[in-house]
Amino acid sequence: MKILVTVKRVPDPNATIKVKPDGSGIVTDNLKYVINPFDEIGIEEALRLKDKGGGAEVVLVSVGGKTAAEQLRTGLAMGADRAILVLAERELDSLAVARIFQKIAQDEKADLIMMGKQAIDDDANQTGQMVAALLGWPQATFASKAESLESEAEKQGVPGIIVSDGKAKVTREVDGGLETLQLPLPAVVTVDLRLNTPRYASLPGIMKARKKELKELPAESLGVDVQPKLTVIKLDPPPKRTAGRKVASVQELVQVLHNEAKVI
């Protein structure tokens, strides 16, 4: 089985994001970048399927600038087998990125594509579903599992997605509960927070990762349409909340919430 896992380079979720005064983007000076946290969960799940599920090749793919190689190396150090970096210096929208992944999945003859449910920079939550549609494959988004992240199964690194007989059984986090779907492979699965706790790259893993294959491909060489369908015209800082006032007692708090704010 071949599992393709997508990896996006995004600003550290713990960093302070500030909009540039001219509204053309965010301030990137001294900004630290990481693997999109949801993609990290996708890598972990693919590695678990490889370790416990009868073997698989795990191939990482990223679309971005040359610097995205850093995140791919981290994924290789976690245990992925090889990586592909599609070089695009310009920002692409979800549909363009989905078309690139579609082409890579076809060329690689992937059986399963594992993706984070969304990237924490544009927060679009679109690409996985779009890749599935373009390939004509079924999809299961927001993969989760019934066992908690403190459970024994989780400690032992049991995969939450069950792959057998050419099918994937996926438990999804939906409004009001957990839904389970079964899809014939090939398929696209996007992952949510509760699926697993990703491993750290080990020191031997980091050493090995240096020798693993990381292939760079210019986006233009793929011959796919990357014309944007969604244009970001400008960014504004969100309306600023100003600190309100301190209340002296619980009684005063209840009083203002009831009479002034009228929310209780």
Binding site: N14, A124, V174, L181
Partner: protein, 322 residues
């Protein structure tokens, strides 16, 4: 003169509340594009839901019935919607960004080769839209190029549509190809809680690491949560410390909430947490540390020991409700 089509979601054979939010957003978008607002409901036998939808001020309701649409799957529903958008020349497809909306719309967009904007907060008169990026740390003005367009709207950004008018109801037959029926629905484990869903609640009470243990979430925080009829949330620090499960996490990598009232108990206010709750209408912080950053975004702050203040607050709330 583009018409807007709103996808109407239902559960247990009832239209869900957020569907009316989608209708309100669709009407707003249609009024700005000078077109009509239509709705579409899909299911096994849903003509009564179609009739009900018609009472919410839409011009037309399309009803699509097929056994393959009984349980929602992206596969079958996306095929139906993509077909309808093409067949009816729809300019914009809208749904609320619920779990179903988020799963479905991008698939439809890709089938149509259309651009999509997610979690839209407002439609501007010039055809552009507002949406949050970077977990709400930036507000983007975006434009979808070409037509059709696909838009999901944030459930808290529009007031639900009110009843008024009577639209036409039209049954539409759509043949669903076999390959759109390959996703097999296995089961749905509904979480039966008396508490409202975190992302849908009018009041949210969240606890942080200062609660010190999972036990204290139960004995100190939960009575307040229930006295207010609220949903319970937690900071990432409390989740990482193992006090409560991850699905309660409010923050950039957890749930984004925007209730009428958000009460942060023993939460210092890390950026990652603020990103998940700062769009709440009223924010209250209870914290021992006067310098905690959470006070900078709070409408009302109480500097106090939570183990004393929270039980007191619970009692006061109960008194108020009697």
């Amino acid at each position: 003169m583009g018409n807007v089509l709103v996808f109407a979601e239902h559960q247990h054979h009832k239209l869900i509340k957020t569907t009316l939010v989608g209708i309100a957003a669709g009407k707003d978008a249609a009024s700005k594009s000078g077109g009509e607002c239509w709705a579409v409901v899909c299911g096994k036998a849903v003509d009564d839901l179609g009739n009900e939808l018609a009472e919410y001020g839409v011009t037309k309701v399309l009803v699509v019935e097929d056994p393959a649409l009984e349980h929602y799957t992206a596969d079958a529903h996306a095929a139906v919607l993509a077909h309808l958008v093409k067949e009816k020349g729809v300019e914009m497809l809208v749904a609320t960004a619920t779990a179903v909306g988020k799963d479905l719309l991008p698939r439809v967009a890709a089938l149509l080769g259309a651009g999509m904007a997610s979690e839209v907060l407002a439609f501007n008169a010039d055809g552009t839209m507002q949406r949050p990026m970077y977990a709400g740390n930036a507000l983007a003005t975006v434009r979808i190029e070409g037509s059709p367009k696909v838009v999901s709207v944030r459930a808290t950004a529009f007031d639900p549509a009110a009843k008024g008018g009577k639209g036409a109801v039209e049954k539409v037959g759509v043949s669903i190809a076999a390959e759109a029926k390959r996703t097999e629905f296995v089961e749905f484990n509904e979480i039966t809680s008396d508490r409202p869903v975190l992302t849908d609640a009018r009041i949210v009470v969240s606890g942080g690491r200062a609660l010190k243990s999972g036990e204290n979430f139960k004995v100190v925080l939960e009575p307040l949560v229930d006295a207010l009829g609220a949903a319970m949330g937690a900071s990432r620090a409390a989740v990482d410390a193992g006090f409560v499960p991850n699905d309660l996490q409010v923050g950039q990598t957890g749930k984004v909430v925007a209730p009428q009232l958000y009460i942060a108990v023993g939460i210092s206010g890390a950026i990652q947490h603020l990103a998940g709750m700062k769009d709440s209408k009223i924010i209250v912080a209870i914290n021992k540390d006067e310098e905690a950053p959470i006070f900078q975004v709070s409408d009302y702050g109480l500097v106090a020991d939570l183990f004393k203040a929270v039980p007191e607050l619970t009692e006061e709330v109960k008194k108020l409700k009697h």
